[in-house]
Symmetry: C2
Subunit: 159 residues, 2 copies
DNA sequence: CATCAAACGCAACAATATATCATCGGTGCA
DNA sequence: TGCACCGATGATATATTGTTGCGTTTGATG
């Protein structure tokens, strides 16, 4: 199920949004939402799993009829991540659209080794605990990478 | 300060070990500690920051007088990570020696963007919270990636 | 000492990411 | 209008990181 249909199923989580809302949010912050940036974000939203930069390039190539160069893809992804509307999953070298709309939130990704999908959850408590640890050590946190790999519920049933 | 001297400074944390203890622990589990594996682990212990696979190759080349091929390095690192005596830091594409001796523990790394060093901390509470979240969603966790990037205390003073 | 599996070497290659410079298009301003 | 500037994108090349396949060596074990 692509991200664009999943917010209805996830009603227990707070503050979901969709592509258009994400784009609007960026615009409100004064960010330029160029055609390329919108295209990349849409591609992430319509994907059913995290996409690598080169996957994205291939998907966009089909849509646009031309090749976007790797540096453009990476620049665009960096922008979207800074805006908080996408996130990089380090353990996959891949990117997902961010379902939670806050600009600066810590999210935890559950990455399924079988189907390859990554589900984003939010946990304020974890964030708080981690911040306390960091604070105690005098460490100033700029960015959080919280990823769990394993097997999602549907994939356990089928195996 | 290299890992090999740091366990004395970190007296508040539990169950620290050094290179020799780590090697002994692997042997107890029946793992073959070959010269290459010991050399790689020692190199990680004596480093003052996480090392990339190719950094490691270069360091070993100086010591051994010959080039170890990339696949050997990666195989060795995989082995050490499985044994729990080293860990991969996804956000750096690099590896560190693991200071905590438990075979299957979740550790959080504080990665300084300035000096490049990564400090390992353990937080049972975080681990527990995350496990609860995963359990609620029917997700079976196999591996955890918990990394915070930012600035460590010493680096803040100097800037 | 014979056997077997695990570890290692080697060569090629694939995937991921960045550096550098050129170009394009809008914006502000004389 | 003409011009200088700036951010976004294009294009090319290259760097860095990671993998595959296969043959050889090594070391534990009977």
């Amino acid at each position: 199920m692509p991200r664009s249909e999943r917010h209805l199923a996830n009603t227990q989580s707070p503050a979901h949004c969709d592509v258009d809302e994400a784009i609007a949010a960026c615009r409100l912050r004064g960010a330029q939402m160029t055609p390329l940036r919108q295209a990349v974000l849409s591609a992430l939203w319509s994907a059913d799993r995290p996409l690598g930069a080169y996957d994205l390039r291939d998907r966009l190539a089909e849509e646009c009829g031309r090749q976007i160069a790797a540096p453009s893809i990476y620049r665009t992804l960096d922008f979207l991540c800074e805006q908080g509307v996408a996130a990089r999953i380090e353990s996959l070298n891949a990117y997902v659209a961010c379902v939670h709309s806050d600009h600066d939130h810590a999210c935890v990704f559950l990455v399924c080794e079988s189907c390859g999908d990554a589900v984003e959850i939010e946990n304020q408590q974890v964030e708080q605990l981690i911040n306390e640890d960091a604070k105690r050590l005098g460490f100033v946190v700029k960015h959080r990478v919280l990823e769990l790999s394993g097997f999602c519920a549907p994939c356990q049933e089928t195996s």
